[in-house]
Protein backbone atom coordinates (compact mmCIF):
# COMPACT_ATOMS: atom_id res chain seq x y z
CA UNK A 1 0.00 0.00 0.00
CA UNK A 2 2.77 2.36 0.91
CA UNK A 3 4.43 1.77 -2.42
CA UNK A 4 1.36 3.07 -4.19
CA UNK A 5 1.31 6.15 -2.01
CA UNK A 6 4.92 6.80 -2.94
CA UNK A 7 3.99 6.50 -6.58
CA UNK A 8 1.18 9.00 -6.15
CA UNK A 9 3.51 11.47 -4.50
CA UNK A 10 5.99 11.00 -7.29
CA UNK A 11 3.24 11.57 -9.83
CA UNK A 12 2.30 14.79 -8.09
CA UNK A 13 5.90 16.02 -7.93
CA UNK A 14 6.55 15.22 -11.55
CA UNK A 15 3.85 17.60 -12.68
CA UNK A 16 4.61 20.28 -10.14
CA UNK A 17 7.84 21.01 -11.99
CA UNK A 18 5.95 22.20 -15.04
CA UNK A 19 5.09 25.55 -13.51
CA UNK A 20 5.18 27.69 -16.64
CA UNK A 21 3.03 25.16 -18.48
CA UNK A 22 0.43 25.55 -15.74
CA UNK A 23 0.33 29.32 -16.16
CA UNK A 24 0.06 29.08 -19.93
CA UNK A 25 -2.62 26.40 -19.54
CA UNK A 26 -4.63 28.47 -17.07
CA UNK A 27 -4.45 31.37 -19.48
CA UNK A 28 -5.94 29.15 -22.18
CA UNK A 29 -8.68 28.08 -19.78
CA UNK A 30 -9.55 31.71 -19.05
CA UNK A 31 -9.63 32.76 -22.70
CA UNK A 32 -11.77 29.85 -23.81
CA UNK A 33 -13.97 30.08 -20.76
CA UNK A 34 -14.67 33.69 -21.67
CA UNK A 35 -15.32 32.90 -25.33
CA UNK A 36 -17.64 30.01 -24.59
CA UNK A 37 -19.49 32.15 -22.07
CA UNK A 38 -20.07 34.72 -24.80
CA UNK A 39 -21.53 31.98 -26.97
CA UNK A 40 -23.85 30.98 -24.14
CA UNK A 41 -25.13 34.53 -23.81
CA UNK A 42 -26.00 34.47 -27.48
CA UNK A 43 -27.60 31.03 -27.23
CA UNK A 44 -29.81 32.15 -24.37
CA UNK A 45 -30.71 35.47 -25.99
CA UNK A 46 -34.22 34.37 -26.91
CA UNK A 47 -35.03 31.64 -24.38
CA UNK A 48 -34.62 31.39 -20.63
CA UNK A 49 -34.07 27.64 -20.73
CA UNK A 50 -32.13 25.66 -23.26
CA UNK A 51 -31.49 21.94 -22.91
CA UNK A 52 -32.96 22.09 -19.42
CA UNK A 53 -30.41 24.67 -18.24
CA UNK A 54 -30.78 28.28 -17.28
CA UNK A 55 -28.21 30.78 -18.54
CA UNK A 56 -26.46 30.80 -15.18
CA UNK A 57 -26.23 27.04 -15.12
CA UNK A 58 -24.88 26.97 -18.66
CA UNK A 59 -22.20 29.52 -17.78
CA UNK A 60 -21.25 27.58 -14.66
CA UNK A 61 -21.04 24.51 -16.88
CA UNK A 62 -18.55 26.25 -19.16
CA UNK A 63 -16.24 27.18 -16.31
CA UNK A 64 -16.51 23.82 -14.58
CA UNK A 65 -15.63 22.09 -17.84
CA UNK A 66 -12.54 24.28 -18.16
CA UNK A 67 -11.57 23.42 -14.60
CA UNK A 68 -12.09 19.69 -15.10
CA UNK A 69 -10.36 19.56 -18.46
CA UNK A 70 -6.83 18.91 -17.25
CA UNK A 71 -7.84 16.75 -14.32
CA UNK A 72 -9.46 14.25 -16.68
CA UNK A 73 -6.80 14.65 -19.38
CA UNK A 74 -9.25 15.75 -22.05
CA UNK A 75 -6.53 15.80 -24.68
CA UNK A 76 -5.02 12.50 -23.74
CA UNK A 77 -1.49 11.88 -22.65
CA UNK A 78 0.91 11.31 -25.54
CA UNK A 79 3.73 9.70 -23.60
CA UNK A 80 1.41 7.46 -21.69
CA UNK A 81 1.25 4.65 -24.22
CA UNK A 82 5.03 4.55 -24.35
CA UNK A 83 5.23 4.30 -20.59
CA UNK A 84 2.59 1.59 -20.44
CA UNK A 85 4.56 -0.40 -22.93
CA UNK A 86 7.80 -0.02 -21.00
CA UNK A 87 5.88 -0.75 -17.82
CA UNK A 88 4.78 -4.01 -19.31
CA UNK A 89 8.29 -4.90 -20.32
CA UNK A 90 9.53 -4.05 -16.84
CA UNK A 91 6.91 -6.36 -15.37
CA UNK A 92 8.25 -9.03 -17.65
CA UNK A 93 11.53 -8.65 -15.84
CA UNK A 94 9.61 -9.85 -12.77
CA UNK A 95 9.27 -6.68 -10.80
CA UNK A 96 6.46 -7.51 -8.44
CA UNK A 97 4.27 -4.50 -9.12
CA UNK A 98 0.95 -4.29 -10.89
CA UNK A 99 1.32 -2.07 -13.96
CA UNK A 100 -2.22 -0.81 -14.02
CA UNK A 101 -2.28 -0.19 -10.28
CA UNK A 102 1.07 1.59 -10.36
CA UNK A 103 0.04 3.76 -13.30
CA UNK A 104 -3.25 4.57 -11.55
CA UNK A 105 -1.52 5.56 -8.34
CA UNK A 106 0.84 7.83 -10.27
CA UNK A 107 -2.06 9.32 -12.18
CA UNK A 108 -3.98 10.10 -9.00
CA UNK A 109 -0.98 12.13 -7.90
CA UNK A 110 -1.09 14.03 -11.15
CA UNK A 111 -4.86 14.51 -10.90
CA UNK A 112 -4.46 15.93 -7.41
CA UNK A 113 -1.91 18.41 -8.62
CA UNK A 114 -4.12 19.47 -11.51
CA UNK A 115 -7.18 19.70 -9.27
CA UNK A 116 -5.42 22.27 -7.14
CA UNK A 117 -3.54 24.20 -9.80
CA UNK A 118 -5.72 23.93 -12.88
CA UNK A 119 -9.11 23.12 -11.38
CA UNK A 120 -9.73 25.71 -8.71
CA UNK A 121 -9.09 28.91 -10.62
CA UNK A 122 -11.47 28.48 -13.59
CA UNK A 123 -14.23 27.35 -11.22
CA UNK A 124 -13.51 30.28 -8.93
CA UNK A 125 -13.73 32.67 -11.89
CA UNK A 126 -17.10 31.22 -12.82
CA UNK A 127 -18.40 31.51 -9.28
CA UNK A 128 -17.06 35.00 -8.56
CA UNK A 129 -17.51 36.67 -11.94
CA UNK A 130 -21.00 35.39 -12.47
CA UNK A 131 -22.20 35.12 -8.87
CA UNK A 132 -23.03 31.50 -9.36
CA UNK A 133 -24.17 29.33 -6.47
CA UNK A 134 -21.90 26.83 -4.80
CA UNK A 135 -22.97 23.32 -3.88
CA UNK A 136 -24.46 22.56 -0.45
CA UNK A 137 -22.45 20.58 2.09
CA UNK A 138 -23.89 17.23 1.04
CA UNK A 139 -23.35 18.08 -2.59
CA UNK A 140 -19.69 18.90 -1.96
CA UNK A 141 -19.11 15.37 -0.76
CA UNK A 142 -20.96 13.93 -3.71
CA UNK A 143 -18.99 16.22 -6.02
CA UNK A 144 -15.68 15.11 -4.55
CA UNK A 145 -16.60 11.46 -5.06
CA UNK A 146 -17.86 12.19 -8.57
CA UNK A 147 -14.65 14.05 -9.42
CA UNK A 148 -12.52 11.16 -8.23
CA UNK A 149 -14.66 8.71 -10.21
CA UNK A 150 -14.48 10.91 -13.30
CA UNK A 151 -10.70 10.99 -13.15
CA UNK A 152 -10.73 7.22 -12.64
CA UNK A 153 -13.00 6.52 -15.60
CA UNK A 154 -10.84 8.75 -17.75
CA UNK A 155 -7.67 7.04 -16.59
CA UNK A 156 -8.98 3.53 -17.13
CA UNK A 157 -10.05 4.54 -20.62
CA UNK A 158 -6.65 6.05 -21.36
CA UNK A 159 -4.93 2.93 -20.04
CA UNK A 160 -7.10 0.60 -22.10
CA UNK A 161 -6.71 2.35 -25.42
CA UNK A 162 -3.00 2.97 -24.86
CA UNK A 163 -2.63 -0.80 -24.84
CA UNK A 164 -3.33 -0.78 -28.56
CA UNK A 165 0.38 0.05 -28.73
CA UNK A 166 0.93 -3.69 -28.27
CA UNK A 167 -0.79 -4.52 -31.51
CA UNK A 168 -0.54 -1.44 -33.69
CA UNK A 169 2.77 0.01 -34.74
CA UNK A 170 1.27 3.47 -34.52
CA UNK A 171 -1.34 3.66 -31.79
CA UNK A 172 -1.82 7.39 -32.27
CA UNK A 173 -4.81 6.88 -34.56
CA UNK A 174 -6.67 5.02 -31.83
CA UNK A 175 -5.65 7.64 -29.29
CA UNK A 176 -6.90 10.44 -31.49
CA UNK A 177 -10.27 8.82 -32.16
CA UNK A 178 -10.69 8.32 -28.42
CA UNK A 179 -9.79 11.95 -27.71
CA UNK A 180 -12.22 13.21 -30.33
CA UNK A 181 -15.06 11.06 -29.03
CA UNK A 182 -14.27 12.12 -25.49
CA UNK A 183 -14.25 15.81 -26.41
CA UNK A 184 -17.68 15.55 -27.95
CA UNK A 185 -19.58 12.92 -26.00
CA UNK A 186 -18.37 13.86 -22.53
CA UNK A 187 -20.11 17.17 -22.83
CA UNK A 188 -16.85 19.11 -22.83
CA UNK A 189 -17.40 21.21 -25.93
CA UNK A 190 -21.14 21.45 -25.45
CA UNK A 191 -23.36 20.03 -22.68
CA UNK A 192 -24.83 16.61 -23.33
CA UNK A 193 -28.22 18.03 -22.39
CA UNK A 194 -28.02 20.20 -25.51
CA UNK A 195 -27.64 17.17 -27.75
CA UNK A 196 -30.48 16.12 -30.02
CA UNK A 197 -32.23 13.08 -28.49
CA UNK A 198 -30.59 10.52 -30.74
CA UNK A 199 -27.08 11.74 -29.96
CA UNK A 200 -27.89 11.92 -26.27
CA UNK A 201 -28.88 8.24 -26.38
CA UNK A 202 -25.62 7.34 -28.14
CA UNK A 203 -23.63 9.26 -25.53
CA UNK A 204 -25.40 7.59 -22.61
CA UNK A 205 -24.21 4.22 -23.85
CA UNK A 206 -20.59 5.38 -23.61
CA UNK A 207 -18.46 6.10 -20.54
CA UNK A 208 -17.79 9.66 -21.72
CA UNK A 209 -20.59 11.61 -20.01
CA UNK A 210 -19.28 10.20 -16.68
CA UNK A 211 -16.16 12.23 -17.23
CA UNK A 212 -17.59 15.74 -17.50
CA UNK A 213 -21.38 15.87 -17.54
CA UNK A 214 -21.94 13.94 -14.31
CA UNK A 215 -19.57 15.83 -11.98
CA UNK A 216 -20.69 19.16 -13.45
CA UNK A 217 -24.36 18.39 -12.97
CA UNK A 218 -23.74 17.39 -9.36
CA UNK A 219 -21.87 20.63 -8.72
CA UNK A 220 -24.58 22.83 -10.25
CA UNK A 221 -27.23 21.01 -8.26
CA UNK A 222 -28.86 19.65 -11.37
CA UNK A 223 -28.45 16.15 -10.01
CA UNK A 224 -29.60 15.70 -6.45
CA UNK A 225 -30.73 12.98 -4.11
CA UNK A 226 -31.49 9.64 -5.69
CA UNK A 227 -30.65 10.81 -9.20
CA UNK A 228 -27.23 11.87 -8.02
CA UNK A 229 -26.58 8.54 -6.36
CA UNK A 230 -27.65 6.75 -9.54
CA UNK A 231 -25.24 8.86 -11.55
CA UNK A 232 -22.40 8.11 -9.14
CA UNK A 233 -23.22 4.41 -9.42
CA UNK A 234 -23.07 4.68 -13.19
CA UNK A 235 -19.64 6.29 -12.96
CA UNK A 236 -18.44 3.55 -10.63
CA UNK A 237 -19.78 0.89 -12.97
CA UNK A 238 -17.97 2.37 -15.95
CA UNK A 239 -14.77 2.69 -13.93
CA UNK A 240 -14.97 -0.96 -12.95
CA UNK A 241 -15.80 -2.14 -16.48
CA UNK A 242 -12.90 -0.23 -18.00
CA UNK A 243 -10.60 -1.42 -15.24
CA UNK A 244 -11.39 -5.05 -16.03
CA UNK A 245 -11.11 -4.39 -19.75
CA UNK A 246 -7.72 -2.86 -19.15
CA UNK A 247 -6.49 -5.83 -17.18
CA UNK A 248 -7.75 -8.27 -19.80
CA UNK A 249 -6.10 -6.38 -22.65
CA UNK A 250 -2.93 -6.08 -20.62
CA UNK A 251 -2.48 -9.79 -20.03
CA UNK A 252 -3.27 -10.47 -23.69
CA UNK A 253 -0.75 -7.91 -24.73
CA UNK A 254 1.94 -9.20 -22.41
CA UNK A 255 1.52 -12.66 -23.73
CA UNK A 256 2.03 -11.26 -27.19
CA UNK A 257 5.17 -9.50 -26.01
CA UNK A 258 6.57 -12.74 -24.68
CA UNK A 259 5.86 -14.56 -27.93
CA UNK A 260 7.35 -11.76 -29.97
CA UNK A 261 10.32 -11.38 -27.73
CA UNK A 262 9.79 -7.78 -26.62
Amino acid sequence: MRRYLELSIRGYRRYSSYRSAVIAGLFTNLVFGALRTAIMYAVFAHSRHVGGYSLNQAIMYVWLAQGLMTIVQMYGNPEFAMRVRTGAIATELTRPIDTQGAAYATDLGRATYHSIFRGVIPVAVGVLAFSLPLPSAANWLEFAVSLWLAATVSFMLLFAYSLSAFWLLDYRGVALVAVILMNLLSGFVIPVSFFPPWLRTVAMWTPFPSIIQTPVNIFTGDLVGAAALRALAAQALWALTLLLLGRALFSLGRRRLVIQGG
Binding site: S20, I39, A45, H46, G173, F194, F195
Partner: protein, 267 residues
Protein backbone atom coordinates in the same frame (compact mmCIF):
# COMPACT_ATOMS: atom_id res chain seq x y z
CA UNK B 1 18.29 29.20 -56.42
CA UNK B 2 16.05 31.82 -54.90
CA UNK B 3 14.97 31.53 -51.29
CA UNK B 4 11.37 30.82 -52.27
CA UNK B 5 12.50 28.04 -54.60
CA UNK B 6 14.60 26.51 -51.84
CA UNK B 7 11.62 26.70 -49.52
CA UNK B 8 9.41 24.99 -52.11
CA UNK B 9 12.02 22.31 -52.66
CA UNK B 10 12.31 21.50 -48.98
CA UNK B 11 8.52 21.31 -48.72
CA UNK B 12 8.47 18.92 -51.65
CA UNK B 13 11.11 16.71 -49.99
CA UNK B 14 9.17 16.57 -46.75
CA UNK B 15 5.92 15.78 -48.54
CA UNK B 16 7.63 12.96 -50.38
CA UNK B 17 9.02 11.59 -47.14
CA UNK B 18 5.62 11.86 -45.41
CA UNK B 19 3.78 10.15 -48.25
CA UNK B 20 6.10 7.18 -47.96
CA UNK B 21 4.43 6.27 -44.72
CA UNK B 22 1.05 6.08 -46.41
CA UNK B 23 -1.06 4.55 -43.65
CA UNK B 24 0.37 6.95 -41.13
CA UNK B 25 -0.31 9.85 -43.40
CA UNK B 26 -3.88 8.84 -44.17
CA UNK B 27 -4.56 8.35 -40.50
CA UNK B 28 -3.23 11.81 -39.72
CA UNK B 29 -5.40 13.31 -42.43
CA UNK B 30 -8.44 11.47 -41.12
CA UNK B 31 -7.66 12.46 -37.57
CA UNK B 32 -7.28 16.13 -38.52
CA UNK B 33 -10.51 15.91 -40.50
CA UNK B 34 -12.37 14.48 -37.51
CA UNK B 35 -10.87 16.87 -35.02
CA UNK B 36 -11.93 19.84 -37.10
CA UNK B 37 -15.41 18.38 -37.29
CA UNK B 38 -15.79 18.84 -33.53
CA UNK B 39 -16.32 22.55 -34.12
CA UNK B 40 -18.89 21.70 -36.76
CA UNK B 41 -20.65 19.30 -34.40
CA UNK B 42 -20.77 22.00 -31.73
CA UNK B 43 -22.55 24.39 -34.06
CA UNK B 44 -25.00 21.73 -35.18
CA UNK B 45 -25.79 20.80 -31.59
CA UNK B 46 -26.33 24.43 -30.65
CA UNK B 47 -28.77 24.88 -33.49
CA UNK B 48 -30.73 21.78 -32.55
CA UNK B 49 -31.85 23.87 -29.57
CA UNK B 50 -32.33 27.37 -30.98
CA UNK B 51 -33.29 28.93 -34.27
CA UNK B 52 -31.04 31.96 -34.53
CA UNK B 53 -27.78 33.05 -33.00
CA UNK B 54 -27.24 36.80 -32.97
CA UNK B 55 -29.81 37.00 -35.73
CA UNK B 56 -27.96 34.48 -37.92
CA UNK B 57 -29.63 31.22 -38.98
CA UNK B 58 -27.91 27.85 -38.77
CA UNK B 59 -26.96 27.84 -42.45
CA UNK B 60 -25.53 31.32 -42.24
CA UNK B 61 -23.42 30.47 -39.21
CA UNK B 62 -22.25 27.31 -40.95
CA UNK B 63 -21.13 29.37 -43.92
CA UNK B 64 -19.26 31.65 -41.57
CA UNK B 65 -17.73 28.66 -39.84
CA UNK B 66 -16.75 26.92 -43.08
CA UNK B 67 -15.14 30.04 -44.52
CA UNK B 68 -13.30 30.87 -41.28
CA UNK B 69 -12.12 27.29 -40.92
CA UNK B 70 -10.90 27.33 -44.54
CA UNK B 71 -8.87 30.47 -43.93
CA UNK B 72 -7.47 28.96 -40.77
CA UNK B 73 -6.64 25.68 -42.50
CA UNK B 74 -4.91 27.44 -45.37
CA UNK B 75 -2.85 29.56 -43.01
CA UNK B 76 -2.10 26.50 -40.90
CA UNK B 77 -0.76 24.58 -43.87
CA UNK B 78 1.58 27.36 -44.91
CA UNK B 79 2.59 28.78 -41.55
CA UNK B 80 2.04 25.92 -39.15
CA UNK B 81 5.78 25.63 -38.56
CA UNK B 82 5.70 28.89 -36.61
CA UNK B 83 4.57 26.88 -33.60
CA UNK B 84 8.05 25.43 -33.39
CA UNK B 85 9.76 28.75 -32.83
CA UNK B 86 9.69 28.89 -29.00
CA UNK B 87 11.14 25.40 -28.79
CA UNK B 88 13.77 26.09 -31.45
CA UNK B 89 14.94 29.20 -29.63
CA UNK B 90 14.99 27.45 -26.28
CA UNK B 91 17.05 24.54 -27.58
CA UNK B 92 19.41 26.79 -29.47
CA UNK B 93 18.45 25.33 -32.84
CA UNK B 94 17.20 28.63 -34.20
CA UNK B 95 20.80 29.80 -34.25
CA UNK B 96 21.53 27.10 -36.85
CA UNK B 97 19.19 28.96 -39.17
CA UNK B 98 21.14 32.15 -38.61
CA UNK B 99 24.35 30.44 -39.68
CA UNK B 100 23.00 30.11 -43.18
CA UNK B 101 23.09 32.84 -45.82
CA UNK B 102 19.32 32.79 -46.23
CA UNK B 103 16.23 34.28 -44.68
CA UNK B 104 15.55 32.59 -41.33
CA UNK B 105 11.84 33.21 -41.88
CA UNK B 106 11.53 30.86 -44.82
CA UNK B 107 13.83 28.34 -43.20
CA UNK B 108 11.45 28.32 -40.26
CA UNK B 109 8.37 27.95 -42.44
CA UNK B 110 9.88 24.98 -44.23
CA UNK B 111 11.09 23.31 -41.06
CA UNK B 112 7.90 21.50 -40.16
CA UNK B 113 5.66 21.31 -43.18
CA UNK B 114 2.96 18.71 -42.65
CA UNK B 115 0.85 17.69 -45.57
CA UNK B 116 -1.65 16.08 -43.21
CA UNK B 117 -2.78 19.54 -42.15
CA UNK B 118 -4.57 19.41 -45.48
CA UNK B 119 -7.19 17.26 -43.79
CA UNK B 120 -8.41 20.36 -42.06
CA UNK B 121 -8.53 22.29 -45.28
CA UNK B 122 -10.41 19.53 -47.05
CA UNK B 123 -13.04 19.37 -44.34
CA UNK B 124 -13.72 23.08 -44.22
CA UNK B 125 -13.86 23.49 -47.98
CA UNK B 126 -16.34 20.64 -48.22
CA UNK B 127 -18.51 22.31 -45.60
CA UNK B 128 -18.41 25.60 -47.44
CA UNK B 129 -19.30 24.08 -50.77
CA UNK B 130 -22.13 21.97 -49.37
CA UNK B 131 -23.61 24.84 -47.41
CA UNK B 132 -23.33 27.30 -50.23
CA UNK B 133 -24.81 25.12 -52.89
CA UNK B 134 -27.60 23.57 -50.86
CA UNK B 135 -28.61 26.00 -48.17
CA UNK B 136 -27.67 29.57 -48.75
CA UNK B 137 -30.33 31.31 -50.76
CA UNK B 138 -28.40 34.13 -52.27
CA UNK B 139 -27.66 34.62 -55.91
CA UNK B 140 -24.29 33.00 -56.40
CA UNK B 141 -23.13 35.25 -59.14
CA UNK B 142 -19.54 35.25 -60.27
CA UNK B 143 -19.09 38.36 -58.14
CA UNK B 144 -20.34 36.69 -54.98
CA UNK B 145 -18.13 33.64 -55.52
CA UNK B 146 -15.19 35.95 -56.11
CA UNK B 147 -15.89 37.85 -52.90
CA UNK B 148 -15.99 34.62 -50.92
CA UNK B 149 -12.82 33.19 -52.47
CA UNK B 150 -10.90 36.42 -52.02
CA UNK B 151 -12.22 36.62 -48.48
CA UNK B 152 -10.93 33.16 -47.61
CA UNK B 153 -7.50 33.82 -49.11
CA UNK B 154 -7.14 37.30 -47.59
CA UNK B 155 -8.37 35.84 -44.32
CA UNK B 156 -5.58 33.28 -44.43
CA UNK B 157 -3.04 36.03 -45.03
CA UNK B 158 -4.40 38.12 -42.14
CA UNK B 159 -4.32 35.14 -39.81
CA UNK B 160 -0.80 34.35 -40.94
CA UNK B 161 0.34 37.91 -40.29
CA UNK B 162 -1.22 37.83 -36.83
CA UNK B 163 0.54 34.54 -36.09
CA UNK B 164 3.89 35.89 -37.24
CA UNK B 165 3.42 38.88 -34.95
CA UNK B 166 2.57 36.52 -32.12
CA UNK B 167 5.57 34.30 -32.80
CA UNK B 168 7.87 37.32 -32.57
CA UNK B 169 7.15 37.53 -28.84
CA UNK B 170 9.51 34.57 -28.37
CA UNK B 171 12.35 36.85 -29.40
CA UNK B 172 11.57 39.40 -26.75
CA UNK B 173 10.28 37.53 -23.74
CA UNK B 174 11.51 34.11 -22.82
CA UNK B 175 8.77 31.56 -22.32
CA UNK B 176 6.04 33.77 -23.69
CA UNK B 177 5.75 31.69 -26.84
CA UNK B 178 3.35 29.18 -25.36
CA UNK B 179 0.85 31.88 -24.49
CA UNK B 180 0.62 32.90 -28.10
CA UNK B 181 -0.67 29.50 -29.10
CA UNK B 182 -3.76 30.23 -27.06
CA UNK B 183 -4.43 33.25 -29.20
CA UNK B 184 -4.10 31.28 -32.43
CA UNK B 185 -6.68 28.69 -31.47
CA UNK B 186 -8.75 31.37 -29.79
CA UNK B 187 -8.69 33.27 -33.07
CA UNK B 188 -10.24 30.34 -34.87
CA UNK B 189 -12.94 30.06 -32.26
CA UNK B 190 -13.82 33.73 -32.37
CA UNK B 191 -14.08 33.94 -36.14
CA UNK B 192 -16.43 30.98 -36.43
CA UNK B 193 -19.30 32.81 -34.82
CA UNK B 194 -20.95 36.08 -35.85
CA UNK B 195 -19.07 38.90 -34.17
CA UNK B 196 -22.18 40.74 -33.09
CA UNK B 197 -22.80 38.22 -30.31
CA UNK B 198 -19.67 39.32 -28.49
CA UNK B 199 -19.27 42.24 -26.13
CA UNK B 200 -18.49 45.60 -27.69
CA UNK B 201 -14.94 45.73 -26.48
CA UNK B 202 -14.18 42.32 -28.02
CA UNK B 203 -15.79 43.34 -31.29
CA UNK B 204 -13.63 46.46 -31.37
CA UNK B 205 -10.48 44.52 -30.54
CA UNK B 206 -10.92 41.98 -33.30
CA UNK B 207 -11.86 44.63 -35.82
CA UNK B 208 -9.40 47.41 -35.23
CA UNK B 209 -6.53 46.08 -33.15
CA UNK B 210 -6.00 42.48 -34.16
CA UNK B 211 -8.03 42.53 -37.35
CA UNK B 212 -9.20 38.96 -37.40
CA UNK B 213 -12.73 40.26 -37.71
CA UNK B 214 -11.78 40.93 -41.30
CA UNK B 215 -10.84 37.33 -41.79
CA UNK B 216 -14.34 36.25 -42.58
CA UNK B 217 -17.03 38.11 -40.69
CA UNK B 218 -16.90 41.35 -42.65
CA UNK B 219 -17.13 39.97 -46.19
CA UNK B 220 -19.59 37.24 -45.20
CA UNK B 221 -21.91 39.58 -43.40
CA UNK B 222 -21.87 41.71 -46.53
CA UNK B 223 -22.77 38.75 -48.75
CA UNK B 224 -25.60 37.75 -46.47
CA UNK B 225 -26.95 41.30 -46.28
CA UNK B 226 -26.44 41.58 -42.55
CA UNK B 227 -26.32 44.91 -40.78
CA UNK B 228 -22.70 45.97 -40.32
CA UNK B 229 -21.14 46.34 -36.89
CA UNK B 230 -19.78 49.79 -36.07
CA UNK B 231 -21.88 51.04 -39.00
CA UNK B 232 -19.10 50.10 -41.31
CA UNK B 233 -19.69 51.12 -44.94
CA UNK B 234 -19.82 48.28 -47.49
CA UNK B 235 -16.59 49.33 -49.12
CA UNK B 236 -14.67 48.84 -45.92
CA UNK B 237 -16.33 45.50 -45.30
CA UNK B 238 -14.87 44.24 -48.54
CA UNK B 239 -11.43 45.57 -47.83
CA UNK B 240 -9.94 42.30 -46.53
CA UNK B 241 -7.26 42.27 -49.25
CA UNK B 242 -6.11 45.71 -48.18
CA UNK B 243 -6.15 44.73 -44.54
CA UNK B 244 -4.19 41.61 -45.52
CA UNK B 245 -1.59 43.71 -47.28
CA UNK B 246 -1.23 46.11 -44.37
CA UNK B 247 -1.07 43.25 -41.87
CA UNK B 248 1.64 41.53 -43.90
CA UNK B 249 3.73 44.68 -44.06
CA UNK B 250 3.36 45.22 -40.31
CA UNK B 251 4.21 41.59 -39.53
CA UNK B 252 7.27 41.66 -41.79
CA UNK B 253 8.55 44.81 -40.12
CA UNK B 254 7.96 43.33 -36.68
CA UNK B 255 9.79 40.13 -37.65
CA UNK B 256 12.80 42.00 -38.96
CA UNK B 257 13.07 44.17 -35.90
CA UNK B 258 12.61 41.15 -33.63
CA UNK B 259 15.50 39.32 -35.28
CA UNK B 260 17.61 42.43 -34.95
CA UNK B 261 16.73 42.59 -31.26
CA UNK B 262 17.49 38.89 -30.79
CA UNK B 263 20.92 39.39 -32.31
CA UNK B 264 21.67 42.53 -30.32
CA UNK B 265 20.27 41.71 -26.93
CA UNK B 266 21.43 38.12 -26.89
CA UNK B 267 19.76 34.82 -27.60
Amino acid sequence: MSTIAIYARLVRLQVRSQLQYTTNFLMSVLATFLFTSLDLATILVIFSNIRTLGGWTAQQVLLLYGAAASSYALADMLLGSLDRLPQLIREGNFDSMLFRPRSPFFQLLASDFMLSRGGRLAQSIIVVIVICTVYIHIAWTAGAILVLTVAVISGAVILGAVWVAGACISFWIEGAGEFVNTFSSGALFVTQYPLNIYAQWLQATVTFIIPIGFVIYMPTSYLLHKAPIFDMPSVLRLSSPLVAGAATAAAAALWRSSIRHYRSAGG
